[in-house]
């Protein structure tokens, strides 16, 4: 009940801020159009192939990154800044319900963005022959990882809404670039490829791109395993961070 209530509340706040809602839909569409155009021109691909390649990295590497990681940091920080979190401390809502509520709300936003991206890609003739089920699992794990990371950053580092922008600009954008979300990783020089190996966004991108485009499992499994471990670590990290914040701020 608490989980659903938290998720509904976040979505309701988003609906009230209509402009943000529209922008969350427009942003991934722009990224997809740009990524696909670059790929089509520079890699000499057909339009359908370009959209096929651009879609997975746009979903997990760009859209979900900003909405789920940036969004969950913003949710937690706004709650701390407005101090409404103190009202939640007074209620029987558990930390787990709160986390799951944020996860659920951002999953809904992420699913919406995924549908927008897929609709555009399908419109331009892209075909995805990989496992639908595994793709959904990868998207869910990505959201879980991003929300977990958002909890760590939102409870430990960002204190004000302005900090969210600074954090995303400092850590988020380089991670996205290095993850191949804008420029395909196979175009990187070797030194950046070596660095990208340690970047979770790279593995998330590779796992979904491989799965949606029916790459053999042997080539995807490594990235998938990395993603599973990363998601577990981030959820645990998020949980511990939330509890630390709870001990620090649990008073009126």
């Amino acid at each position: 009940m608490g989980t659903i209530a938290v998720a509904q509340r976040i979505l309701l706040e988003l609906v009230h801020r209509r402009r943000s809602l529209i922008l969350w839909a427009v942003f991934p569409a722009f990224i997809l159009l740009l990524n696909a155009t670059i790929l089509e021109e520079r890699a000499q691909l057909s339009r359908a192939e370009a959209y096929q390649l651009a879609t997975p990295i746009t979903i997990v590497g760009a859209a979900l990154f900003f909405s789920c990681l940036g969004g969950s940091i913003a949710t937690v920080v706004a709650e701390r800044e407005q101090k409404t979190i103190k009202r939640l401390f007074l209620s029987p809502l558990t930390g787990l319900s709160y986390f799951l509520g944020i996860f659920l709300a951002h999953s809904a936003i992420g699913i919406g963005q995924t549908l927008v991206i897929l609709a555009i890609a399908l419109f331009f003739g892209a075909e995805f022959t990989g496992s639908f089920f595994l793709s959904v699992i990868i998207i869910a794990l990505s959201i879980l990882s991003y929300v977990g990371t958002g909890f760590v950053l939102g409870t430990q580092i960002a204190k004000r809404t302005e900090d969210v922008n600074a954090l995303i600009a400092t850590f988020g954008v380089p991670l996205l670039l290095l993850g191949g979300s804008f420029v395909p990783a196979n175009l990187f020089p070797q030194s950046l490829k070596d660095l990208a190996f340690w970047n979770p966004v790279f593995h998330i991108n590779e796992a979904l791109a491989g799965t949606m485009n029916d790459t053999p499992w042997e080539e995807v499994s490594y990235h998938f395993t990395f993603l599973v471990i990363f998601a577990l670590v981030m959820v645990l990290g998020g949980w511990l961070s939330y509890n630390r914040m709870l001990n620090r701020e649990r008073s009126l």
Binding site: T84, K86, L88, S91
Partner: protein
């Protein structure tokens, strides 16, 4: 009944609460007074199970306060703490759901709470569009949504205009009449006088006085207090002393505790021969008691 038994709490080297014992009877209003830093908010945090005391026990209806008993308590904190973009109805529905209320019962509670605090016509107004007084009332409605047995109101009318204060007092009286136990912390002594059945005064973490207003009045051996405004203030003080009256300076001029009710002629006779600009007579109020207990004068 809410019972605090021997509560002590230390932050680093600072003793914030020291062996605090306090009992609030069911369906009564208890006013907890004290200056900033006296330990009022720490006491509230402990009652709400947000802080653990170093020593002592908090019992509500003979059950220890735990996370499981949080639903028994409703709190309207000093700051309103509302979701600003949500409407009044949405704020209430959200908190109702957090407390496990749903369906028709939730809709009914939202209506009842809005009606109680006089915000029925603002059900669809975003919280950010409400005036300060209305936000305060919405905060109160949120504290009531789950029908708590104990309500804690931290500075419930601070910053409100007179009309809004009167409305808030009416809500508090209504809640008490309907059987809710209420703990109020405030700096506004007239509010405590009007609303509270029992009053406790905290100073440096210790309960230095407790009782009904009538009981606390006994701390001042006077039927009334007179204030004399005179250009010959020292002469007034000396005359009072010679008459065996206790003198105090409550800010504006010299005042005396008068053990028996006197008429104006008798008062004038007391200060015969001294130039008097004005005489005012006051009943013994909580303000006098508070200043006495705190040793401010």
């Amino acid at each position: 009944m809410l019972k605090l038994e021997g509560i002590s709490k230390k932050f680093n080297d600072r003793q914030v609460l020291s062996d605090l014992n306090l009992t609030i009877e069911l369906a009564t209003v208890y006013g907890l007074l004290g200056p900033n830093g006296a330990g009022k908010t720490t006491a509230i945090n402990i009652i709400c199970n947000l802080l653990k005391p170093d020593r002592g026990l908090v019992l509500f209806n003979d059950r220890p306060i735990t996370n499981q008993t949080k639903a028994l308590i409703g709190v309207a904190p000093q700051q309103n703490l509302l979701y600003q973009t949500l409407t009044c109805g949405e704020n209430l529905r959200f908190f109702g759901k957090i407390y496990g209320i749903s369906g028709k019962k939730l809709s009914q509670r939202v209506e009842e709470c809005l009606e109680l605090v006089g915000l029925t016509d603002r059900v669809n107004s975003p919280a950010e569009t409400l005036s300060g007084g209305m936000q305060r009332r919405l905060s109160m409605a949120i504290a009531l949504i789950h029908q708590p047995k104990l309500i804690i109101l931290d500075e419930p009318t601070t910053g409100l205009d007179l009309e809004a204060r009167y409305q808030m007092w009416e809500v508090i009286r209504h809640l008490q009449r309907s059987g809710t136990t209420i703990l109020i912390t405030t700096h506004l002594l007239d509010e405590v006088e009007r609303l509270c059945h029992k009053i406790g005064i905290l100073q440096q973490g210790k309960l230095v006085a407790e009782g009904t207003l009538a009981q606390l009045r006994q701390r001042i051996q006077a039927k009334e207090i007179i204030t004399i405004q005179s250009p010959q203030e020292q002469a007034v003080i000396d005359r009072g002393k010679s008459l065996g009256l206790v003198s105090r300076h409550y800010g504006e001029a010299t005042s005396f505790w008068i053990p028996e009710l006197l008429d104006l002629k008798q008062i004038l006779e007391y200060f015969d021969g001294i130039a008097i600009d004005g005489i005012s007579r006051h009943p013994v109020s909580l303000e006098h008691i508070y200043l006495e207990v705190m040793g401010y004068i």
